[in-house]
Subunit: 205 residues, 2 copies
């Protein structure tokens, strides 16, 4: 593909992603996308067989971006710090959007998981990859004694991911950052193996 | 309204609700609904001005059902038991559907909260009512010493509701009850003010 063609393809994916993030897949039409990019419908069909394939390209690009985000932010030798760094990065990412759009994975999970098996497969893979990575960090934290061990790392990993998705959901409805921030700060406190009456420190403000 | 007319209205709301639960509002058309009920389009317009008003009737009916569900299941004098009873009822409700459809409030929050201000208002009210009630139970539990008090009742209430919504989401993608069950059992353990190393008891199996 020439550089120009590559750019057109990227703009199609970018505009589709932007529309899907606010309106969802079902409400985004091919016409919306070509209008946003400023091309004719025929041009779109040079790159994609239709909306389904374009939507898949959006999910695949977002999957790669999200895996890089995990790689960057859920890292380091100290498991508790790695989790906290990840929480802060996730909070910043969503606060910066004013909680418009929310989490593409959560949105697509709820919109498509009962109706589109191809999209569902990508979403399921992303969640499973995310949960496995959080689980590994929690397990290390349990081994170092930082994280409580009265529930398994796997069970706590589900709770962490669920709290993040649910927290984004409530902040998205209220358009306030408080609910998501509370969820993150509370899950941090609750995961600690230290004395549970100790004062919280260094929380997201 | 005569009894027959009342029944037709109820069937319209019921079928719209059923369709919305799996496909979402945007993908459900007036034609889908009239086909499911087996009436002509003109008949629908006798009851509702259009899809928007029918959708609102679905949300209002579901809001009333959900408030009754809260009334029934989040009750009793023992705050910890009230929470546990609510968790069990929520788990059963969703397990019984095989995690198809998920939570209408979560779905509508993600599908409509950036695009439909009328629906958003109903969804926001339901979440706020839900959070306030959970918060009151947690506050009582903190007063009786059953629930940890190192985070405020309001912050913990956000976490509880977020864990439920996120848990349903992950179970809906995977079509397995394990993730939602883990979230509920873990949040129960983590909320307790007792020694955090005590063995878990009486969890949802």
């Amino acid at each position: 593909m020439t550089e120009d063609k590559q750019k057109t393809r990227e703009r199609l994916v970018y505009e589709m992603a932007r529309l899907v993030q606010t309106k969802g897949f079902n409400s985004t039409s091919i016409n919306d996308v070509i209008q946003a990019v400023g091309i004719k419908k025929g041009t779109l069909y040079y790159y994609f067989s239709g909306k389904e394939e374009l939507g898949l390209a959006v999910l695949e690009k977002d999957r790669d971006d999200f895996l890089s985000f995990l790689e960057t932010n859920l890292s380091g030798k100290n498991p508790q710090k790695a989790l906290e760094q990840f929480f802060k990065a996730a909070f910043k990412k969503h606060k910066d959007t004013g909680f418009v759009g929310g989490c593409l994975w959560g949105n697509t999970a709820l919109e498509m998981s009962d109706t589109n098996p191809v999209y569902k497969k990508v979403v399921e893979k992303v969640f499973s990859e995310w949960i496995v990575r959080i689980e590994a960090v929690i397990r290390s934290g349990q081994q170092t004694g930082q994280i409580r061990a009265d529930r398994s790392a796997g069970e706590l990993a589900y709770l962490v991911v669920a709290s993040i998705e649910g927290g984004i959901m409530i902040s998205r409805i209220t358009k306030k950052d408080g609910p998501f921030k509370s969820c993150l700060n509370s899950i941090r406190t609750l995961l600690r193996s230290e004395n549970i009456h100790k004062k919280p420190d260094n929380h997201i403000r």
